[in-house]
């Protein structure tokens, strides 16, 4: 579990996070949503340890990040997996090389052990045939799956995804959402996803945190988001006619 207690983060005069508190449980897909500039990326980078909040604590399974030594922080980092918006695969390495990279850097496994593990995770993301291809030779959806494989190869406790569906067609986006959800349940990890994609919210939002101007505006589940009267949330989530109709139908069905 990750517990966030009243974190504040500023850049110069800009107060980006203004006291956010929440908890993210394991085995669940936690979504962070909000408009551009609401502080989602800064929030995610604070959770990753890339930014240090000026106030407040982030607690990873009872370990307060700010109290950890440099070595303990490094060890904690190795328990985190990250899927970047643009996949962030290493261009100079093959798909297998990218997935194997964390194993080479942080484990003492033999080559055959590493290859077995790489094969296992590539099979898990249905990419075993792309083993020897370079990132430039595969599609955006495949790159995202390689990034997921790289993020889970070390058996992380925490998985972070920044806009995992951006730039993907709707069908591939759903495949990626389902894959992240399946992996979250299978590995029993804490998954936190930054997204703008309302399909993801409806599909996998087991817990949704809505940020507005650096504050927690609302939190709940994908079922609760249909019923909420919070204008900021409904204005953001149901901004398209299609989603407005979906919401209307859901409410009528429930009544």
């Amino acid at each position: 579990m990750i517990e966030v207690r009243d974190i504040h983060k500023s850049f110069g005069d800009a107060h980006v996070l203004k006291g956010i508190s929440t908890t993210f449980e394991k085995g669940k897909t936690n979504l962070v949503i909000g408009q551009s500039g609401s502080g989602k990326t800064v929030f995610l980078k604070c959770l990753l340890g890339l930014f240090t909040p000026e106030e407040g604590d982030i607690i990873y399974d009872g370990k307060i990040y700010s109290n950890l030594s440099v070595d303990e922080r490094r060890n904690l980092r190795q328990e985190m997996g990250m899927v970047f918006q643009g996949s962030a695969l290493f261009d100079s390495m093959t798909v297998a090389g990218n997935v194997q990279f964390p194993l080479e850097m942080f484990t003492k496994q033999s080559k055959s052990e590493m290859q077995d593990r790489v094969d296992t995770v590539l099979k898990r993301v249905n990419l075993i045939d792309a083993h020897h291809k370079f990132p430039s030779e595969i599609s955006g959806g495949m790159q995202k799956r390689v990034a997921i494989a790289r993020a889970i190869v070390m058996n992380p406790k925490y998985l972070f995804c920044d806009e995992p569906n951006s730039g993907l067609d709707p069908k591939t986006a759903i495949l990626i959402d389902d894959l992240i959800k399946e992996i979250t349940e299978e590995y029993d990890i804490v998954t936190i996803i930054n997204t703008h994609d309302m399909n993801s919210v409806m599909q996998i939002g087991e817990k949704i945190l809505f940020l507005k101007n650096g504050l927690k505006e609302w939190e709940g589940t994908k079922h609760e988001i249909f019923k909420t009267d919070n204008e900021a949330v409904t204005g953001f989530v149901y901004s398209s006619d299609l989603f407005k109709k979906v919401r209307q139908m859901y409410i009528e069905e429930k009544n």
Binding site: L48, R74, Q78, G86, A88
Partner: protein, 257 residues
């Protein structure tokens, strides 16, 4: 509105901050080293990319510059009282003292430096450096340290440059009819000071470190997108050249002055 002294002050302070950041980066490069098994592969790859793949252009330029230095010297030494072997002497001094270590380093600041800035800058833009940092890898050690070690092999390229430059001079001098082969070789050995070779290689090693680190600094800390990668490469070339020229003056004063 800012007055001129304030503009100068901000400009100066900005550059001072950049210099400070550069030395902090150098300190980080040597912290938390990457596993030797991985580092060894990276170093070999960088030797190939930075030094070995530059040999062609170094040989090409050295040959023709050596030839031109000989022809220019020969054309300007038209007094019959001046011995012809001075053409060989001037070629040797020009190539060993300045052309090979300094001029070739400026060219390498363009070729190797822009490659370093653009490759690291692209990694920054595409979040590959963020990916390394999230994993807990010291990105500076992983990316810059192998380049520094690879560039320690750069003096070998400069030794080849010296040899080819003098060979080019001999070829142009003898076959252009400016002097005999014997005169050229006599000139080459005339008043030879072995420390000049040491001076050239001391400069080369220092320039190699500059070529590896200044462009890496500009690539690693760049912000923006593809356009900024291009701008960072240009800025890196300008600053690498400026630092090489200034250090060339300081080292010459210290070692030969």
């Amino acid at each position: 509105m800012l007055f001129l002294p304030e503009v100068v002050y901000f400009y100066f302070m900005n550059h001072l901050a950049q210099i400070g950041s550069y030395f902090l980066m150098i300190r980080e490069v040597f912290k938390k080293p990457t596993k030797w098994r991985i580092m060894k592969t990276l170093i070999l790859k960088e030797i190939d990319e930075l030094v070995y793949s530059s040999l062609g252009i170094i040989i090409f330029i050295s040959f023709f510059i050596g030839a031109v230095v000989t022809i220019q010297t020969a054309l300007n030494l038209n007094n019959p009282l001046i011995p012809k072997n001075l053409i060989g002497f001037a070629t040797r001094q020009s190539v060993i003292l300045e052309f090979a270590p300094t001029f070739v380093s400026i060219i390498m600041a363009g070729k190797v430096g822009s490659y370093i800035t653009s490759s690291i800058g692209t990694m920054r833009v595409t979040e590959q450096i963020d990916a390394l940092e999230v994993m807990g890898v010291n990105a500076l050690n992983y990316l810059v340290f192998p380049k520094i070690i690879a560039m320690l092999f750069y003096p070998f390229a400069i030794a080849i440059s010296m040899y080819v430059g003098i060979f080019g001079g001999w070829l142009a001098g003898v076959f252009g009819g400016f002097l005999t082969s014997a005169d050229f070789v006599t000139g080459l050995t005339l008043d030879f000071i072995p420390f000049h070779i040491a001076y050239a290689f001391i400069k080369t090693v220092i320039f190699a470190l500059i070529i590896a680190t200044v462009p890496a600094f500009h690539g690693f800390y760049m912000k923006g997108g593809a356009l900024e990668v291009g701008k960072a490469s240009t800025t890196a070339f300008v600053w690498t050249s400026v630092v090489i020229i200034i250090l060339n003056y300081i080292l010459t004063q210290l070692l030969l002055g």
